[in-house]
């Protein structure tokens, strides 16, 4: 065990941890902005309630994404000074642009959004949450462009032992980046979608007096009302309708994002075949160059020619194998071990695909289950017509099917799936890149800070791990508590004193968001 091993562990721990929060920030920010837009355009109260409810969950999570991100920026210099000196000319530029273009936008406008509920005009306040959400997504673009350069360096030359950028545009439009960015961002929307599905599913069960395990916890008289028998009390109906709205929104978001993830995943697979053959070989555990390579669903269960089909869109194509690439790399770069940790890469690949597809499959199933049916139950929304525009499409003819309780339960239980899928995707991508920090240019072993001692890294690694552990428990407890408590203003109890005098008053009443 030396400083290099600990520095790698620290990078792995802090990066995976950071990435538990970031996808939710990226996807949930846009989702909250969408909810607020719906409220702005329709004036319906339940959109406002949902905006504030999910907004609060978003902010609890956002804090963690920000503070753990600072660690990332610092530890390149702290633990990987040789890497930083080598790549800074190219790699530093997108990082600087990320702060300048994305982080300022995100943090400034989020501050305006949190504190601006009763200070800004409604239109500007809506623009603030969109600006913050756009900032989050822009930051993903820059950091992923920097990351893609490590795997497929472009637009540079090496002068005096340092990479020198020759073409910024090439770095920002690296084909690896252009495949990876939509893949990761869309996956973030799947994670956020999975989160909203779980929260909405839980709230629906709770409104019906059902627990996640299927036991009745309260209000047994109204239980089962959502299953379509139509004898529900109106408040319950309206409450579940509100969560049905957020659930439907998340289903649409997850399904659409899932299509993008699949398409760009296919593109990334083909780029791996051309640019990072070792990662592809390790992902299948393929030892020898193989024509018509199979894909193992699990070890022993193979689909013939599938890997070749995925990698080159040609069932007969030759996919390189780990041992043969190792031999060729030794000829090219000199003797060393160029093979990443094959079992980790192999299983990450399967967890990513399996859990990711399960989440998207769940969303497609949900869309079908909750589709609007001719002659079905009338929607409970119709009673609330104070908005600017009454939605006539959900009138008598077509009505929304209620969310089955078993499906709501499945949404809650599926919460870990997209998170595990996206983390597995990173393990595949970054462990599969080893032993390189910059593919073909710089080895991880040569990247570490020479002057930093084992003790120093041990201290920072252990403190970060403990601190992060405590904060993770605290964040989970906070989120669970707020989800259980539900929204601060139930939409079923409009305040007559506010609405009578001024129809806008209720909408402008701020909730304490901070």
């Amino acid at each position: 065990m030396d400083a290099l091993d600990l520095a790698r562990w620290q990078f792995g721990v802090t990066t995976v941890y950071h990435f538990l929060f970031v996808p939710l920030t990226i996807g949930l920010g846009a989702f909250v902005a969408g909810l607020q837009t719906a409220w702005y355009r329709t004036g319906k109260d339940h959109y406002l309630t949902l905006t504030k409810f999910f907004g609060k969950l978003f902010l609890i999570n956002f804090a963690m994404g920000v503070v753990t991100g600072i660690v990332q920026e610092f530890q390149f210099g702290m633990n990987w000074s040789e890497y930083s000196t080598f790549v800074g000319d190219v790699f530093g530029a997108p990082l600087a642009l990320e702060s300048l273009v994305a982080f300022f936008l995100e943090s400034t406008f989020l501050g305006l959004w949190i504190f601006g509920w009763n200070r800004l005009p409604k239109r500007l306040h809506l623009a603030a949450i969109w600006a913050a959400a756009i900032g989050s997504n822009l930051s993903a673009y820059f950091i992923l462009a920097a990351n893609a350069w490590m795997k497929h360096p472009v637009g540079y030359e090496v002068v005096n032992g340092r990479a020198r950028m020759t073409d910024l545009w090439a770095v920002l439009t690296n084909p690896t980046a252009l495949a990876q960015i939509p893949h990761v961002v869309a996956a973030a929307f799947v994670v956020a979608g999975g989160f909203v599905l779980a929260v909405s599913g839980y709230r629906i069960l709770r409104e019906r007096g059902l627990g996640v395990t299927g036991r009745r916890t309260a209000e047994p008289a109204t239980a089962g009302a959502g299953d379509g028998d139509g004898d529900a009390t109106i408040p319950l109906r309206r409450r579940t309708d509100m969560w049905r709205t957020s659930l439907r929104g998340a289903l649409v978001m997850t399904a659409l994002a899932g299509v993008v993830v699949a398409g760009t995943g296919d593109l990334s697979g083909r780029l791996l075949h051309e640019q990072q053959p070792m990662k592809l070989a390790a992902a299948e555990g393929l030892t020898r160059d193989t024509a018509g390579a199979p894909f193992s669903i699990v070890p022993g269960v193979e689909v013939p020619n599938m890997l070749s089909l995925l990698a080159a869109h040609d069932p007969g194509a030759t996919v390189q194998g780990v041992d043969d690439i190792q031999r060729r790399y030794e000829e090219q770069f000199g003797p060393a071990d160029y093979t990443p940790n094959v079992p980790v890469v192999f299983w990450s690949f399967r967890v990513m695909i399996g859990f990711g597809m399960a989440t998207v499959g769940l969303s497609v199933l949900g869309l079908w289950l909750t589709r609007k049916r001719r002659g079905g139950q009338p929607s409970g929304q119709r009673g609330r017509q104070r908005g600017r525009r009454h939605d006539s499409r959900t009138g008598e003819k077509r009505a929304a099917a209620p969310v089955p309780s078993w499906f709501a339960r499945a949404c809650v239980l599926a919460l870990p799936l997209p998170m595990m899928a996206i983390i597995a995707g990173w393990l595949l991508s970054e462990i599969g890149r080893q032993p390189w920090t910059v593919q073909g240019e710089l080895l991880t072993a040569a990247s570490v800070s020479p002057g930093v001692s084992l003790a120093e890294v041990a201290i920072s690694l252990s403190v970060f791990t403990v601190l992060y552990g405590v904060l993770a428990v605290a964040e989970a407890a906070l989120l669970v508590r707020h989800v259980k408590a539900g929204p601060e203003q139930p939409p079923t109890i409009p305040d007559p004193t506010l609405t009578a005098a001024d129809p806008d008053a209720a909408r402008l009443t701020p909730t304490l968001m901070y």
């Binding site: 600072i70 530093g92 530029a93 600087a96 642009l97 300022f104 949190i114 020198r164 800070s449 002057g451």
Partner: protein
């Protein structure tokens, strides 16, 4: 181009120290300025909408160092490993405390958040000064004096900011806190500020530059003027003076670090290629003015003094 980017980075650090300087001060003074939860919310509310945006100045400064002077960035962060680690840990505890205090249960949980805000603010404010003090002199004494300077000036700056942004008892307490902080900041400043240009005496043709000495003297003058203005209850001008003092101190500091920001490393050796610097310049010229405009606008939106708000919660 190298000099230009050195000035840009100095500018970003200056923005960070001026803006997050008062954030740190407000955080450090939280328990001293408030006697009730409503007052604590009033104190935190002065920085609530803006502190995160202020922190991005540091993230951008560090990012710009990475891009423009990779060897400076990696050398500074790896040679000050433990202080940098503590700064990041302090920023984590502080940021989470600020964001979560309104979302946890009142009582013990909120008190824990407040403790995080205070500890994180004090630790980080001290460490930045300590790092630069150590960088210039490499002695324990200089490290401690540097840390005390940044901490005491941040507390003074933060107290003045609270007097400017609040009403009622909190404002009165902040004025007393500012005067007390000045009792520490002014003597420390008298020792520390002239030491900054003096540290660069052995760099030929530069350290003797009268400009650096002028900056250091003006920084002292601005600091003292700030104290006098607090005494005379001219809060807006007092804040301008403490901000100006931080600007001049940072200018002196970066002046003393030119042209070798780390021992044995010149800017020319540390710099990225001219192509990279040119590209960054063009993007910076477009993006930075926009940032200044919308961040300035956010301060304008939240320009009003905060009163004690008992109704919420």
């Amino acid at each position: 181009m190298t000099t230009f980017w050195f000035i840009v980075i100095a500018f970003l650090w200056t923005g960070y120290f001026v803006l997050e300087g008062f954030d740190f001060g407000v955080g450090a003074l939280l328990p001293l300025l408030s006697r009730s939860e409503a007052e604590r919310r009033q104190v935190i509310g002065t920085i609530g909408p803006v502190w995160d945006g202020n922190e991005v100045w540091m993230i951008t400064a560090v990012g710009a160092m990475f891009a423009a002077f990779p060897a400076w960035y990696s050398g500074l962060l790896s040679s000050f490993y433990l202080p940098m680690f503590l700064i990041v840990a302090g920023l984590i505890v502080r940021g989470v405390g600020l964001e979560w205090r309104g979302k946890v249960r009142p009582g013990r949980e909120r008190a824990l958040c407040d403790a995080g805000i205070v500890a994180g603010s004090v630790l980080t404010a001290f460490l930045w000064g300590a790092v630069f003090g150590n960088l210039l002199y490499d002695t324990v004494l200089a490290t401690v004096i540097g840390g005390l300077l940044s901490l005491s000036v941040a507390i003074l700056h933060g107290a003045v900011f609270v007097t400017l942004k609040t009403t009622g008892p909190v404002r009165a307490r902040a004025r007393r806190a500012a005067l007390l902080a000045a009792a520490a900041a002014v003597p420390v400043g008298v020792v520390a500020l002239p030491s900054i240009p003096a540290s660069a005496m052995d760099v030929p043709n530069w350290s003797a530059s009268p400009w650096l000495w002028a900056c250091a003297v003006l920084a002292m003058a601005a600091l003292t003027a700030g104290v006098a203005l607090v005494w005379r209850r001219r809060e807006g001008w007092a804040f301008t003076a403490t901000a100006l003092s931080i600007v001049l101190t940072t200018a002196t500091l970066f002046g003393a670090m030119w042209p070798a920001p780390l021992p044995g490393l010149t800017l020319a050796e540390a710099a990225s290629a001219p192509y990279t610097l040119t590209m960054l310049t063009w993007i910076g010229l477009i993006a930075l003015p926009a940032v200044l405009v919308y961040q300035g606008w956010s301060y304008w939106v939240f320009r009003k003094r905060l009163t004690v708000d008992i109704s919420s919660h």
